[in-house]
C-alpha cells in the first residue's frame, strides 16, 4: 500500500472553486457583451478584450514584481476588465480602458492584498478614476448603430480608436442618454437596449438573463440586485414624484448592470443577510440622490464605491447570532448597585 493521505475532516470538498465562480461570472457577462455588439458594433467587444487583457497582464506583472506566485489563473482579473469595459461609453479611445484596468488591478485590487482584500469594487473605482481623467470622453454617448445598416457599419466606430474628438463629432452621432431626458423614453427600446448609454448597461434584457444565470448557479445572492432596484424605485418615486419616471430610471444609467455585476462583488459587500439588505438599499438610495442632485452618469459607480466603504462597518456591527444563542439578561440596575454596596 502506498503512503496514505492523513488529514483532518472533511475529506471531500465541493467542485465550486474561485476559478469556477469567475468562469460563471464571465459566462453571465457575455450576455451584455453580445448585446453591446448588436447595439454598438464590434468596437465595444474590442475594448472589452483590451481591458481584460490589460487587467490580466497587470496582475501578472504585479505578482512577478512582488516575487509572488501568479494569481491570474483564478480569472478574477478577466472579470474586472470585462466589467470595467462594459460600463464605459461604447466609443472611447483604446487607451482609456487600458488605463482604467491598470488602475483597477494595480491600485485598487493588488495593493490592498489581491482578491478578496480590495476595499472597493475595482471596476467601479476604475470607472470613477477615468471619469476624473477624461470627463468629456466619459460623458459622450453615441447613438446605437443600426443592424439594418449592413455588416460593415458594425466596424464604423473603429475610426475613433486613437482620438475621439468631441468638437468634431456632430450632434447627429452623439446622443443624449435617457437619463438626461427622463420621461420621454420608449419603454421597449429601454428594455432591449436600443438607446444611447454605456456599452454593457443599455440592454436590460441581456443583464437580466445574466442575472438569472448567476442566481441559478448560486454565484450571487438574489437579495443584492433585488433590494438595490427596489430601493432605487422607491427613491426615484420620492424625488421625481412621477410614476412615469420610475421604470426609465431603473432601466438606464447602469443601475441594473451595477446591481447585478458590481454590487454583488464578494469582497466589498457585507457578509450577513441583514448587512446585505442595508448595503443594497443604500446603493439604490445613493444612486438616486446623486442622479437628482449631482452628475447623472456617475450615480451608480459612486454609490457602489460609497457603500463598499461602509461595508466593514456593516460587518462590524451586524453580527449573526449563533443558533440557540439566547441574549443574557442584563442585571437590573438596582440589584447591581446592591451587589456593589
Amino acid at each position: 500500500m502506498r503512503k496514505l493521505i492523513v488529514s483532518s475532516s472533511p475529506h471531500i470538498t465541493s467542485p465550486k472553486t474561485t476559478r469556477a465562480i469567475m468562469l460563471d461570472v464571465i459566462i453571465a457577462l457575455s450576455c451584455p457583451l453580445v448585446a453591446s455588439v448588436l447595439i454598438f458594433g464590434f468596437y465595444p467587444l474590442f475594448l472589452a478584450l483590451l481591458a481584460a487583457g490589460t487587467a490580466v497582464l497587470t496582475e501578472f506583472l504585479y505578482c512577478k514584481a512582488r516575487k509572488k506566485p501568479s494569481t491570474v489563473d483564478d480569472l478574477s482579473a478577466v472579470v474586472t476588465g470585462l466589467i470595467l469595459a462594459l460600463c464605459l461609453p461604447p466609443v472611447v479611445p483604446f487607451y482609456v480602458p487600458m488605463v482604467g484596468a491598470v488602475f483597477a488591478i494595480a491600485i485598487v485590487k493588488m495593493l490592498f492584498g489581491g482578491i478578496g482584500r480590495n476595499f472597493a469594487n475595482p471596476a467601479a473605482s476604475g470607472r470613477i478614476f477615468l471619469m476624473l481623467c477624461w470627463p468629456l470622453i466619459m460623458n459622450s454617448f453615441l447613438a446605437p448603430v443600426k443592424l439594418g445598416d449592413g455588416f460593415a457599419s458594425l466596424f464604423d466606430n473603429f475610426k475613433y480608436i486613437v482620438t475621439f474628438d468631441i468638437a468634431a463629432t456632430t450632434t447627429a452621432t452623439t446622443a443624449a442618454t435617457p437619463l438626461a431626458s427622463l420621461g420621454n423614453a420608449d419603454w421597449l427600446k429601454l428594455f432591449l437596449g436600443d438607446i444611447a448609454g454605456s456599452a454593457g448597461e443599455v440592454s436590460a434584457i441581456a443583464i437580466l438573463i445574466g442575472c438569472i444565470y448567476l442566481i441559478v448557479r448560486k454565484v450571487i445572492d438574489w437579495k443584492t440586485p433585488l433590494v438595490t432596484v427596489l430601493s432605487a424605485a422607491v427613491f426615484s418615486l420620492a424625488f421625481y414624484q412621477d410614476i412615469e419616471y420610475v421604470l426609465p430610471s431603473l432601466l438606464s444609467g447602469g443601475l441594473l448592470f451595477g446591481a447585478v455585476y458590481m454590487a454583488t462583488d464578494y469582497a466589498t459587500s457585507p457578509n450577513t443577510a441583514v448587512g446585505t439588505i442595508i448595503y443594497a438599499a443604500g446603493i439604490g438610495m445613493t444612486t438616486m440622490i446623486i442622479r437628482k442632485f449631482g452628475s447623472p452618469a456617475e450615480g451608480m459607480a459612486l454609490a457602489i464605491v460609497l457603500m463598499n466603504i461602509a461595508t466593514p462597518l456593516l460587518d462590524k456591527y451586524i453580527k449573526p447570532r449563533p443558533f440557540g444563542y439566547r441574549k443574557e439578561k442584563k442585571p437590573k440596575l438596582r440589584k447591581a448597585k446592591e451587589a456593589n454596596a
Binding site: 500500500m1 502506498r2 496514505l4 493521505i5 492523513v6 488529514s7 483532518s8 475532516s9 472533511p10 475529506h11 471531500i12 470538498t13 465541493s14 467542485p15 465550486k16 472553486t17 474561485t18 469556477a20 465562480i21 494569481t71 483564478d74 478574477s76 492584498g113 489581491g114 482578491i115 478578496g116 482584500r117 445572492d221 464578494y266 469582497a267 457578509n271 450577513t272 453580527k319 449573526p320 447570532r321 449563533p322 443558533f323 440557540g324 444563542y325 439566547r326
Partner: protein
C-alpha cells in the same frame, strides 16, 4: 418537508451499498478490544493475561459517571493488554483476545416485561454507548436532571457513503421498533419521533408499519448535517438547544438507530453490543457492502477480506467514519469500536484534494453554517492570534460538521482551524 437552517448538499454516493443486504463478517483470530471506545473515562480492565473469556464476558468496567462497560466479543483467551493507537490516533489500552472459534456465550439474563429501572440498569450493565459515532454512554443520556418529554431517534444517516443504519432499519425493523419502545419507557418520554431523510423513504415506510401509535416517523429533507443533534431536534420539534447546552435542556434525548437495536438485544437476549453493522465502501475495495463486524476486529482484517481484485495502490485515504466527519487513518492497525459506522477506502478521484487559495470573502461558509457562525472571521482572527476575540465571536458553538470547509471556493481549512482554535482556547484557559 421539515429541516434545519442552511446546510449543504454533497453527493450522497450511497448507491453502491444501499442495496447490499447485511452480511456477517467472520471474527479474526486475534481481536483488539479498545477499553476507551466511548466518550468519557476509559473502562478499567478487569481481566488479566491468561484469563479465558466468553462472548459477552465483562472485560472492562466503567470508571466514573460518564463511562461504559466493555465486553469480550468472542470466546478465547486474553493474551495481552497493549497500548496502541485507536482510530483517532490516540494511544489507548486494548485487550488482545485470541479467538478459540467456539463462540461460547456468557450473556446477561434476558429480561421479560422489564420495569423502567430494569431497562436503565441493563443499558448500564451492557455498556451501551451511542452507535452513531460519538459513542456517548446511553445510560447518562437517559438519566439527566431535567425531565425528558420527547425521545428522538436518529435515522438520518446524512454522511455520504454510509448505509448501515438504512439496512438495519430495513432488515431488523421489528427489533428496532421494540428497542425504541424500551428506551422510550426508560426515559419516561411521552413522545418518540424517528427522523429519517427523504432518500430513505423505503425504510421510513417499513418502520411506520410496525411502530406503535405513540411513536411517529417523520421524513426530513436530504441535507447535510441533518443528523447533527441540535439540527435534528430543531427539524423535528422546532426547539433550539441553547448554546453550550445539551438536548436535555429542551426536554429531548437523541438515540441512534443501531443503539435502539442494541438496547433491544441487551434486554431481550442479554447480549451486550459486541457486534455492529459497518458500511465498507470506496473505490479501494471490490466487495463493498454492509457487514456485521465484531468489535475489536482490526481494520487490516476487514480490508484483506473485502479488497478482492481492487488495486492496492489506488487507495489514497482510509477513513474511519464518513467523509465529512470521519478520521483519516495512517495505517490499518486500529480496530472496530461501538461507534464505527463506516470504513472507507477512497481513491484519489473520490477525495477531492484541491489547492488552497486566498479567501475571496464570499461568505459561503457563513451562508451554509447550520449554527449561523462566521468561519472566515474565525480563521482570520486565528491567524492574528486573537483567541479572546474568536471566543467572543462564538467559536465554541461550532459543531464541527465541516460544511464550511466543504463549500469554500478557496478551499480554506476552516473547520480544521476552528478545531485548533477550540483546542487552544481550552488549553490556555482563555
Amino acid at each position: 418537508m421539515r429541516t434545519f437552517f442552511r446546510g449543504i448538499h454533497p453527493k450522497d454516493r450511497k448507491e453502491r451499498t444501499a442495496g447490499c443486504a447485511l452480511e456477517k463478517m467472520p471474527a479474526p483470530d486475534k481481536l483488539y478490544v479498545n477499553l476507551a471506545q466511548h466518550a468519557g473515562a476509559p473502562a478499567e480492565a478487569v481481566v488479566a493475561v491468561g484469563d479465558s473469556v466468553k462472548c459477552g464476558t465483562l472485560i472492562g468496567r466503567a470508571q466514573g459517571f460518564i463511562s461504559a462497560n466493555v465486553h469480550s466479543p468472542v470466546s478465547g483467551k486474553v493474551t495481552a493488554l497493549v497500548k496502541q493507537p485507536s482510530a483517532s490516533g490516540i494511544k489507548t489500552l486494548h485487550v488482545e483476545i485470541e479467538n478459540d472459534g467456539l463462540y461460547d456465550e456468557d450473556f446477561l439474563p434476558p429480561l421479560e416485561n422489564p420495569a423502567k429501572e430494569d431497562i436503565l440498569a441493563r443499558v448500564k450493565d451492557a455498556g451501551i454507548a451511542g452507535m452513531g459515532g460519538a459513542a456517548f454512554p446511553l445510560f447518562v443520556k437517559l438519566s439527566p436532571k431535567e425531565t425528558i418529554d420527547t425521545l428522538i431517534v436518529n435515522g438520518v444517516e446524512c454522511e455520504p457513503y454510509i448505509t448501515c443504519d438504512y439496512r438495519i432499519m430495513l432488515e431488523r425493523t421489528e427489533e428496532v421498533a421494540r428497542g425504541i419502545a424500551l428506551v422510550k419507557a426508560a426515559s419516561g418520554a411521552a413522545n418518540a419521533i424517528i427522523g429519517i431523510e427523504a432518500n430513505k423513504a423505503e425504510a421510513a415506510k417499513k418502520l411506520a408499519a410496525v411502530l406503535p401509535p405513540d411513536i411517529k416517523v417523520v421524513l426530513l429533507k436530504t441535507k447535510y448535517p441533518q443528523g447533527a443533534e441540535k439540527q435534528l431536534i430543531y427539524a423535528l420539534t422546532r426547539r433550539r438547544v441553547p448554546a453550550g447546552g445539551l438536548p436535555a435542556a429542551v426536554g429531548v434525548t437523541v438515540l441512534n438507530i443501531q443503539t435502539a437495536l442494541a438496547v433491544c438485544e441487551a434486554v431481550e437476549k442479554g447480549r451486550p453490543p459486541i457486534m455492529r453493522a459497518v458500511t465498507v465502501s470506496g473505490g479501494g475495495v471490490e466487495h463493498a457492502g454492509n457487514y456485521y463486524v465484531y468489535t475489536g476486529t482490526p481494520y487490516k482484517f476487514i480490508y484483506d477480506n473485502l479488497k478482492g481484485n481492487a488495486e492496492e495502490d489506488a487507495v489514497a485515504k482510509i477513513l474511519s467514519g464518513g467523509p465529512m466527519m470521519g478520521m483519516a487513518q495512517s495505517d490499518l492497525s486500529a480496530s472496530v469500536v461501538k461507534g464505527t459506522s463506516a470504513l472507507l477506502f477512497l481513491t484519489d478521484a473520490e477525495i477531492s484534494e484541491r489547492p488552497m487559495t486566498q479567501c475571496i470573502n464570499c461568505a459561503s461558509c457563513h451562508k451554509c453554517c447550520p449554527m449561523n457562525l462566521m468561519p472566515m472571521v474565525f480563521e482570520s482572527l486565528y491567524e492574528q492570534g486573537e483567541f479572546a476575540s474568536v471566543k467572543a465571536a462564538g467559536v465554541l458553538n461550532c459543531i464541527e460538521c465541516g460544511a464550511c470547509s466543504y463549500v469554500c471556493p478557496a478551499k480554506r481549512p476552516l473547520v480544521q482551524v476552528i478545531r485548533l482554535t477550540k483546542k487552544t482556547i481550552k488549553e490556555k484557559g482563555i
